[in-house]
């Protein structure tokens, strides 16, 4: 139903998420933002069960900000990813596990860009590109085919557009628009929303 994608370049990470908030068969909202800003250079993309997504993501968000307040410096993306995974793992075998799938994208001043894939079973993998949702089945092979570690920003956006086109063509559900953001050493930038015009 929902779709997340992330592509890591040499000095940036490009992420996109669909904008639909649905309730059974109805689209309740067409402009819903699934990205949560953890810090100046870290974004958490979160999909999954209705209330869990917001609750979990906001919990992580507030804790990362608290770390900054207490210690005076921010968590690195790797540390934030591991912290998130730990929380998922802790709740996994409780009575209230969080059923959420996440992508954490960030830029570290020393390590460079990073994209971390996490799923509801609290696995964690640092990956050059990743996707969540049914749409991932359709787009991962496109990413496999065309991805290169030295993609430029425009090439990465083109690759993203290829994926979205494929979704439009073959995915049974209608995902009309996608929020796109780019993280690099300057911070988080909002790119133009990808809307699938009638073609």
């Amino acid at each position: 139903m929902e779709y997340l994608i992330g592509i890591q370049g040499q000095d940036f990470v490009l992420v996109a998420a669909d904008n639909v908030a649905a309730s059974s068969i109805i689209q309740m909202k067409h402009d819903y933002d699934k990205m949560f800003k953890l810090s100046e250079k870290i974004l958490l993309l979160c999909v999954g069960e209705a209330g869990d997504t917001v609750q979990f993501a906001e919990y992580i968000q507030k804790n990362v900000q608290l770390y900054k307040m207490r210690n005076g410096y921010e968590l690195s993306p790797a540390a934030a990813a591991n912290f998130t995974r730990k929380n998922l793992a802790d709740y996994l075998r409780s009575r209230t596990p969080y059923h959420v799938n996440l992508l954490l994208a960030g830029y570290d001043d020393t390590d460079g860009p990073g994209l971390y894939y996490m799923d509801h079973l609290s696995s964690l993998a640092k990956a050059p590109f990743a996707a969540h949702g049914y749409g991932a089945y359709l787009t991962l092979s496109i990413l496999d085919r065309y991805y290169r570690p030295d993609l430029s920003r425009d090439e990465a956006v083109d690759l993203l557009k290829k994926c979205v086109e494929e979704l439009k063509k073959r995915f049974i559900l209608n995902l009309p628009s996608f929020t796109v953001r780019l993280i690099d050493k300057e911070g988080i930038h909002d790119l133009e929303k990808l809307t699938l015009g009638a073609k």
Binding site: N19, S23, D31, D33, K37, A50, G51, G187, K193
Partner: protein, 390 residues
């Protein structure tokens, strides 16, 4: 029942060693048997008494959905006298008392809708409460005012909704007393969402739409005057912002160039700007017990909502006049009641503006149905006449 029993036991105790059993609590046979059965000297055994409601409260809220049959039934029957007449005994506990999973998810048997437009927020709902296929109450109230500038539409289990509305109203009032200003609709929605979160996964079913008008920062309960003083300027601005927000509705969340500036704002700035923009003015939130919390311009909830959505999507836009808005809301509820079995009877409408909410008289949709039937018949005869004249 618990209170009555405890009170009666206390009075029985105070009468101590008399052999009269004056206040036999009515209704519960178990109680009276115990009272008559046991000697007074044995204090403890009397209090080892099965008081289902107390146990029910002791259990963690997470356990609600897994209460065993016996407990659940007695808990239900004991709570009946305390439910107000307009709210119905919910049908859900009866289903869950079988302690078997339900064959399909219970649909919220209702049609409620709300949308924002230039004249404020309009909320409309039907008035039918159904229970397992029969109409339990044809005149229930699904739009509950929470305070002078906030109204909540309820969908889901009637009792749950009524209870949580009251809890929310209490918490909002406490906030107002403590902080000297009203909590915004966004804050109220967040509060409700967090209060409902521990009950996720249980049978609790509340899908509420909160429609409100947020005031200016400084309120102190001196109504709106403080807000509207800066009103014409800031109000105009917010409506303009809202209008441009509406225009860019489809286009953006992040590139919220709704302030008519072309530069791209960074994420944090935009969040700030968005907050600033919505500090006062109409506001609409959907909160569900499964954890969803969404802000929007138009929401419809319930089993009749798809039918209502299709009517609303055709006609709702920012620039509606108040009368047009009322008529389209009424039309949407009417169409939904026409098609959906679980919605019907009358339609309630509330209009929320900067001055608070106003309620329209409840209108019976039966009249509308007959009028439409007349119209159709009339059209048919007209058409026939035309063809004959050809």
């Amino acid at each position: 029942m618990a209170l009555q029993d405890i009170c009666n036991f206390q009075s029985v105790f105070e009468d101590s060693l008399t052999t009269e059993y004056p206040a036999v609590p009515h209704g519960k046979k178990i109680a009276s048997n115990y009272v008559s059965g046991l000697p007074f000297s044995n204090n403890k055994s009397l209090f080892h008494f099965y008081i289902p409601v107390a146990e029910y409260l002791d259990e963690s809220p997470i356990q609600f959905g897994q209460i065993s049959t016996v407990q659940n039934c007695s808990a239900d029957s004991s709570e009946d006298p305390f439910l107000t007449s307009s709210t119905l005994p919910t049908c859900l506990p009866f289903a869950s008392s079988q302690s078997v999973p339900l064959p399909f998810p219970m649909a919220h048997g209702t049609t409620t809708l709300a949308f924002m437009f230039q004249g404020g927020v309009l909320a409309a709902a039907d008035t039918r409460s159904s229970c397992s296929g029969l109409v339990a109450c044809p005149a229930s109230q699904k739009i509950l005012p929470i305070h002078s500038h906030l109204v909540g539409l309820t969908s889901g289990t009637s009792a749950d909704c009524a209870l949580w509305k009251r809890i929310l109203a209490r918490e909002l009032r406490l906030y107002q007393l403590r902080h000297g200003r009203r909590l915004s609709t966004s804050g109220a929605a967040k509060l409700l969402s967090h209060m409902l979160h521990p009950f996720k996964g249980t049978e609790l079913c509340v899908a509420a739409t909160l429609c409100g008008w947020d005031g200016g920062e400084v309120d102190d309960g001196c109504d709106y005057h403080g807000g509207t003083e800066t009103g014409p300027g800031s109000h105009g601005e917010t409506t303009k912002n809202q209008m441009t927000e509406q225009k860019n509705f489809v286009d953006s969340t992040n590139a919220k160039v709704s302030l008519a500036k072309d530069e791209r704002f960074s994420f944090s700035e935009q969040c700030f700007i968005r907050k600033k923009m919505n500090l006062s003015g109409p506001s609409l939130f959907y909160v569900c017990s499964d954890g969803t919390r969404l802000r929007g311009m138009l929401f419809s909830v319930g089993s009749g909502s798809p039918y209502a959505y299709s009517i609303l999507d055709q006609g709702v836009h920012w620039g509606l006049t108040v009368d047009e808005a009322k008529s389209i809301a009424r039309e949407a509820v009417y169409r939904a009641t026409y098609r959906d079995a679980y919605s019907g009877n009358c339609v309630d409408m509330y209009h929320i503006t900067s001055k608070g909410w106003t309620r329209r008289n409840r209108e019976d949709l039966k009249e509308e149905y007959y009028r439409e039937k007349q119209r159709r018949k009339h059209e048919k005869t007209e058409r026939r006449d035309v063809t004959f004249s050809d």
